[in-house]
């Protein structure tokens, strides 16, 4: 049956129109035309501007007739558009009164906050026309992707091994050998690598449309252009970044990203997005008008009583996340990515901001975080908070979780780093961290803890064991940017070394880190390239570097194959042993009558851990009968960690009759005896004890 609303009722300068439907917001295909819907609490009138693709001036501007507005929503259906060649935006009229929070400027054409694709930065790094009156343009998008039977994978949280990567960095280096370097398609071509490494989740650094030219400048050190490379500054929340898609120049970035997600899912790999809802690319009162500022400044931004921008994000403005309107757009956005792109989880940049009220005060029961936690579409999505912000709020362990939210565990990172570099007195802290931080997440369980030693912020793993201090001169800020508390140790020489002793210690330290990370209860996260000793030459804040400081050099796969093999085997080992992947905290007791506690602590003497202030070592045993709370039976595992500069003899706890200790890993043994294939671990000769070299770890399997 034909629909009545497939016919126009109005006309404006040759364009056929009809009052639109307020829902859904954004631009939607309807029979015969396109429905445009946008809201503003304070605009007095609105005009739709339509451009032919790439043209300087709009081909038509259609004011919304009064009768096309319902509530605060302007909605209009326009018929007969050549939808593949249309770019659109809006002009809004309203008060300009900064003290009251209003900054309407009808001379600006504004991006639709719900734009599903955005043109203007179609090809990464291609200098734009700076005279463009409307630089970031909304596009019309088909949302009819054929997913076959794909849906988000719903891998249990405790079984994840996350790999944090930047889309462009992963394959941009000439050595990657992919056909379209630095793109979503490039990742797809490197799927065999991810499969071999064994990770089952990739977390993509920002892929929402951003402007790589935001604050771009020339480096005084190198003469290179410094860019907004990482992309933590959103232009449009519903659009994938065109410049990260090989087909972006054809406007097909939506399909390219969906094809990547579908293919990753087919290979058992989940996809998380690193989402930045705390601020936008519009900066403060001196920043550009892109979208929100001209649509409804007072609603979208946190403003001081005088009308200036609060700056809890450290980037100029702060999104007003607990305003009901803003809350809804965040929710709409995540629902869109979960349902239209089959995204498996989200990591929220500076998430503590999402728990502040419109004046910036932390809320005890933040409605936005609660809405996300209980939303039906997001019900199986993983939600991960970076549980701090640039305004001084630090909520690791106390982020409002509603039984759903996990956190980047900054205390895990700090504790592991300090233990690794040989600081004394950390045995107690490390025991907490390896158990999934029950001191922080008593009621939430170990899966609340995303364990990581390195992430995009800060040193890479190789740099962590090669530099005492940051070396950020290339960023052109006099080495003042980036964190100073790196808890790193260079193993005796700052930077690259030709000393074989130093180099072998660095390799050992990286293996130690990998081993500790991958046996910890909770969810491990690996930074892209750490498995092959990627370096940033000591730069711990490469946010602006579009060059080999960020690009993964695939030649490392050959030169660092020993480290790669160690990582790979440790990941397989973790996934083969449920005893590392408990949903709930270990009790340190024997509640099932196995004769052993689920976890027991040891030192150089079995059953006698050294918790003293001078201790630099720790050992533990996991009893396999307690795996998954006693639901499955696994082997027993013993791990000893000696971060002392001398070798140490560790007495081993006795196994039950019939079981023997086998060696899975020994980081002081030369490759290939540093690590074994799961299931092929050789019998340990002396079942009573083992000598650990200086700064090394041993993992044994009792079977």
């Amino acid at each position: 049956m034909e629909r009545v609303d497939a016919y126009p009722t109005h006309e404006y300068q040759g364009f056929k129109l009809r009052p639109g439907k307020p829902f859904p917001f954004g631009a939607t295909f309807v029979p015969g035309g396109v429905n445009f819907s946008i809201y503003s609490s304070h605009a007095t009138s609105c005009t739709l501007a339509l451009f032919n693709k790439g043209e300087a001036q709009p081909k038509i501007e259609i004011p919304f007739p009064d009768e096309f507005r319902i509530g605060d929503v302007f909605a209009m259906t326009v018929f007969g558009l050549d939808y593949e060649n249309i770019e659109y935006g809006y002009r809004m009229e309203g008060p300009f009164d900064p003290q009251q929070g209003h900054r309407f400027d009808p001379s600006k054409i504004l991006l639709d906050p719900y734009a599903k694709a955005i043109s203007g930065r179609d090809v990464w790094g291609k200098p734009p026309n700076w005279e463009n009156i409307f630089p970031h343009r909304s596009l019309l998008v088909f949302d009819d992707f054929d997913w076959d039977d794909d849906r988000p994978l719903e891998i249990p949280m405790e079984d994840l091994v996350i790999y944090e990567m930047h889309v462009r960095s992963f394959t941009r280096h000439p050595s990657s050998g992919v056909k379209f370097p630095g793109t979503f398609a490039g990742i797809r071509q490197k799927l065999p690598y991810l499969k071999e490494l064994g990770v089952n989740c990739i977390e993509l650094m920002p892929i929402y449309e951003f402007d790589e030219f935001e604050n771009s400048r020339t480096s005084p050190e190198t003469g290179e252009t410094l860019m907004n490379y990482w992309g933590y500054s959103t232009v449009g929340f519903f659009a994938p970044k065109s410049g990260l898609a090989a087909t972006g120049k054809l406007g097909m970035q939506v399909d390219e990203l969906k094809a990547l997600v579908k293919d990753l899912h087919r290979n058992g790999i989940e996809v998380f997005l690193d989402v930045v809802f705390n601020h936008t690319a519009e900066g403060n009162e001196n920043g550009p008008y892109i979208s929100f500022k001209g649509i409804d400044n007072k609603t979208y931004y946190m403003l001081t009583p005088e009308g200036y921008y609060f700056n809890f994000s450290g980037t100029g403005n702060t999104l007003n996340c607990n305003n009901p309107v803003v809350r809804n757009i965040v929710l709409d956005c995540l629902r869109y990515w979960a349902s239209e792109y089959h995204i498996d989880g989200f990591r929220f940049d500076l998430a503590s901001i999402l728990g502040r009220d419109p004046l910036g005060y932390p809320l005890s029961n933040p409605p936005l975080l609660e809405s996300l936690a209980f939303d039906p579409i997001l019900a199986k999505c993983k939600l991960i908070a970076e549980a701090w912000d640039a305004g001084g709020l630090y909520q690791v362990g106390s982020f409002p979780a509603y039984g759903r939210w996990a956190e980047w565990n900054g205390k895990y990172r700090d504790g592991l780093r300090r233990f690794l570099k040989g600081e004394p007195g950390l045995a107690g802290d490390i025991a907490q961290r390896l158990q999934g931080s029950p001191d922080l997440y008593a009621s939430r369980g170990p899966t609340a803890s995303i364990n990581f030693i390195t992430c995009h912020d800060g040193f890479t793993l190789y740099d962590l064991v090669s530099y005492n201090d940051k070396h950020n001169e290339a960023n052109g800020e006099g080495n003042r940017d980036g964190a100073n508390d790196n808890d790193s140790w260079n193993c005796g020489w700052e930077g690259p070394s030709t000393d074989p002793g130093i180099n072998s210690m660095r390799i050992r330290q990286m293996k130690n880190a990998a081993a500790m990370l991958l046996v910890s209860q909770g969810v491990p996260m690996i930074l892209m390239g750490d498995e092959v000793a990627r370096t940033q030459n000591g730069n711990n804040n490469t946010y602006c570097q579009d060059n080999s400081l960020n690009w993964l050099d695939w030649n490392l796969m050959n030169s660092q194959s020993e480290l790669f093999r160690f990582f790979k085997n440790c990941i397989k080992f973790r996934l083969a042993h449920p005893v590392f992947r408990n949903r709930w905290h270990l009790s340190n007791q024997d509640r099932i009558g196995s004769g052993y506690a689920d976890i027991s602590w040891h030192g150089t003497q079995a059953w006698n851990a050294d918790w003293s202030g001078s201790s630099r070592l720790l050992a533990f045993m996991l009893n396999g009968k307690h795996a998954r709370g006693g639901m499955v039976e696994d082997d027993d595992i013993y791990m000893a960690m000696n971060m002392h500069w001398d070798s140490q003899w560790f007495e081993l706890p006795r196994l039950p009759e019939g079981k023997n200790w086998h060696v899975f890993a020994n980081t002081s043994a030369p490759s290939p005896e540093d690590v074994w294939e799961t299931g092929h671990e050789p019998l340990l000769e002396n079942q009573n004890g083992i000598l650990l070299g200086d700064r090394s770890v041993v993992i044994l399997v009792g079977k």
Partner: protein, 111 residues
């Protein structure tokens, strides 16, 4: 955009020439759809398609779904490298059997 139909053996060969985009796709679809009868064997010869937009890709997939639902078979031949790359990266190529030449296509459909 030209659509040239022929029948070789028992195979419907449809040769497309020109740009396949939002302006031309509806017309092309209207011409091909009547051929999508039950158990049809069809070859789409793309060797003279110079550009394919999002709408063009979608038209191909709609054709594919229609033909498959009628127990037919469809094969693409003569894709340029550019178009093959675009189809591959956007996931559309995954649905199709595609071969280099018309002869390859005929062999595949007759076997």
């Amino acid at each position: 955009m030209e659509v040239i139909q022929s029948i070789i053996q028992d195979v419907n060969v449809v040769k497309l020439a020109g740009d396949l985009d939002g302006n031309t796709a509806p017309n092309v679809q209207a011409q091909i759809m009547p051929l999508a009868i039950p158990n049809v064997k069809m070859i789409l010869d793309m060797s003279e398609v110079s550009y394919m937009s999002s709408a063009g890709l979608r038209m191909l997939l709609v054709m594919y779904r229609t033909i498959i639902s009628k127990s037919g078979k469809v094969v693409l031949v003569g894709l340029s490298e550019d178009i093959r790359d675009t189809m591959s990266m956007t996931g559309f190529l995954d649905f199709f059997t595609y071969l280099e030449t018309l002869d390859d296509g005929l062999k595949t459909l007759s076997s």
